[in-house]
Amino acid sequence: MGQDTRDNAELDRKLRHYRLSRDEHRRIVGLIGREPQGVEWALFSALWSEHCSYKSSRVHLKGLFNQSPRVLQSFGENAGVVDLGEGERVAFKMESHNHPSFIEPYQGAATGVGGILRDIFTMGARPIALADYLCFGRPEAKRMEKLVDGVVRGIGGYGNCVGVPTITGQTEFDESYDKNILVNAMAVGLFRPGEKVFLSKASGVGNLVVYAGAKTGRDGVHGASMASESFDKESEKKRPTVQIGDPFFEKLLIESSLEVMEQDLVVAIQDMGAAGLTSSSFEMAAKGGVGFTLHLDRVPLRDATLEPEDILLSESQERMLMVVEPSKLERLQALYHRWGLDAVAIGEVTKDRVMRLYWKGDLLTSIDPDLLVEHPPRYERAYESWKPKHRITDGPVLMASGLKVGEELLKLLGSAEGASREFIYRQYDGHVGASTAADCRESVGVVRLKDSGRGLGVVLGCRPYLMRFDALEGGRDTVAYPSLELAAKGFEPLAMTDCLNFGNPERLEVMTSFVAALGGMNELARELVAPIISGNVSFYNETEGRNITPTPSTGLVGLRRSVEELPTSNFTQAGHEVFVVSTSKIFEFGGAFAEKTKLEPRAMGAIDRDSVKSLVTSLLAVEAGGFIQASRVVGKFGLGYALSRMALGGVGAEVNGHSFAELFSERLYEVVIATSLSREDFEKQWATASGGSAPIRYLGRTGGSILKIGSDVELTVQELTTVYHRGWVQSFPNLAVNV
């Protein structure tokens, strides 16, 4: 073997280890003018990973609608910030922790929650709400029961202990997640009037770089680059040490860090998340246009055998990096110490844009942070323009025959997809903070803002079965559906975050669905003025060649004048009139029912942004008058299922007869409303509010303990409730609810 071949083999080995490509290697050599040396390999590996650099998505994210007069901070910081008026502002963001949760569900989910909380309080906002978007495989899939159990316990274990209420969530089941579950966590934090927003941009030559929080261990070394790869049997072997989350420690870190910021003791601050010290230090310096001198030997270690590369890549949890004026160090340290935590200066800010990393006095590297942060490769992965499929011009979209409405409704209520999620949310503290006005039992989670008394609504979006049917309509729906859910409870949608979970972007069909979904999402965000102000992309959700359903989950926040007299999601009183209001133009398809029962997929029309906007506006106007007592956006499984869910509160209803297709197909969008007004009065109110732009149809009246739909359905509320709760137990027999 010649020297060249040996060198090539050596280079390939190195590139594989650091998960960099030949092209990327050439790019690095071009940028720094020489071969990378020592820890530089690790730095490029981490910062140029898909996870940190967004190299496959950046070109598409650039065009996102991310501004409105309310937006104070958009992409580029730890989280986005929105102005609520009256001095109140919220920071929020959603992030994925998919791969770690599949390996070790409890710790994976727990550290996912911990990480997203740090993104929020790092900015100076006190976390006030959590929400979780979960996708699991079929209940019978290998390990699935354990994965569900572990993830739910992990989220609860962390969120409950740190004392942040989990107020809403969404859980989906599908075969495409059998070997690649999704765990997305969203956190919302509040800045009360007068509280300052802190950013990560380093400044002040001579200021100290201070490390605070937990000691560094071997946890998750190479985690960021691993999250940027497909899953295979090999991943089992090369998995890093599992990151262990400590919510107790995080709670101390929250309280101490918020005090530190309240006393204005820091100039800039960022948490150490993916790629730990590397990404936090390089990003802070790059944003500030400054350099850092860092002494890696001053980093507090849990394991004395750690090498510089491990220290740079460790993803040990509950750590913060900050820039502090030298005169304030002592006060800062004393404050952390009172909470039982350590803060150490590990370096300082320099004028030139150079990161100088030292280990016991030796210079390991001196490198321009911009090269790593601002100049990773940008890939324009191949994709095709979106072509709608399964379209017909004449209905019905659902061709079912010989099925009985009542029986089918009960089947749906008793299925994993349609059954109660009580098992899950019962394990989450939904009320710590004493501000929760609506919890996971409702379709919108609501916390009361202490100073103004107004309500902040939080709701998640993305329906995987719709994404499987059509990624463009599915993308539109990730904004439209949750916006309507907010509006139906009187919350004006303000802004959103997203978590774009997709498969391998190097595959044409994956990238095509990514571009289509993002386009649909962006279009509706712009129309509804719900800017996308934070988020995360999780590619390579691919296991053994199988890609997940494209799953761009979203989290929206909305604002309501108060938390009094919130419309419920169930019928609560007899004698209310029941209506369906809808968009003037409809996208109609066989929906989750057609997929589940393997009926021929058919669809008509398209989601129309103007008519969605009109429906949102009309709902807000009518709700503001106090005329909506209960509401539910018709979603999965169509109108019949929505009505059944509304009857679960104990009050039934009697409504007009409908054809099978009308009850089980999905017409985007319809909203069921129950009102205490008379039929005529409500119709008048609706006409005024909508100006005729959103059709209304009378359904019937609430009352009794039976759900009656025409002459086809007569089910007791008791029966519906029993089946709805039993459905979970039957799907997960070992995870019983009430033992």
Binding site: C161, G163, R426, G430, V432, A434, A437, R448
Partner: protein, 225 residues
Amino acid sequence: MAKSIGKSVVGVIRFPGTNCDRDVFEAVSKLGGEPRWLWHGDLFDHKEYSALILPGGFSYGDYLRSGALAARATAMKSVREAAVYGTPILGICNGFQILCEARLLPGALSRNQGLRFIDEWVELKVVGGLSRFGQNAKVQTASGLRIPIAHADGRYTVSVDEANRLEDRGQVWLRYKVNPNGSVADIAGVTNEAGNVSGLMPHPERALETWMGSSDGRALLDLWS
């Protein structure tokens, strides 16, 4: 005696990991009391307080046993003095666990029967008994209370004999109508022999207003109006 301080000054004790501290602080304030922070690492003069509250949360992460580490904190020395002196002391959820671990209340709180955390609204019956908090609440509520619970370790555990003795002496002051966690004799709250130290698992500070889902919690905290 305690009332002689005049304005009702209520000490709210913060341990590392307490997470209902601010909720309780605000609740006391809302109900007309004057809340003051107390820090786990400091001794305090109990005579300056007309009542003390140990709020809920996860002191020391619930590690080892819920409440075990907090029960040995410095501030607990002053709490003990206050208990002997007769100061009304209320432990909510983790606070209840701490008071049991400190042996200021009888029994122990072990893992829920279902081995999972439970967040749920429960219906409660105020038995009253010796508890000052119970006697106060009983006057206001004939039909019972609706208040949320949120705990993993809420199963009140004592021997059957001891449970009977507690019953006879009037130390049981709060009961679940439907037992959520396997507690002995549906016990949701107990008090000491003197009646001044009481603990309960439900969170009254989360049920103060209709928009919260219930305002029944006022009856349990309304000691200062």
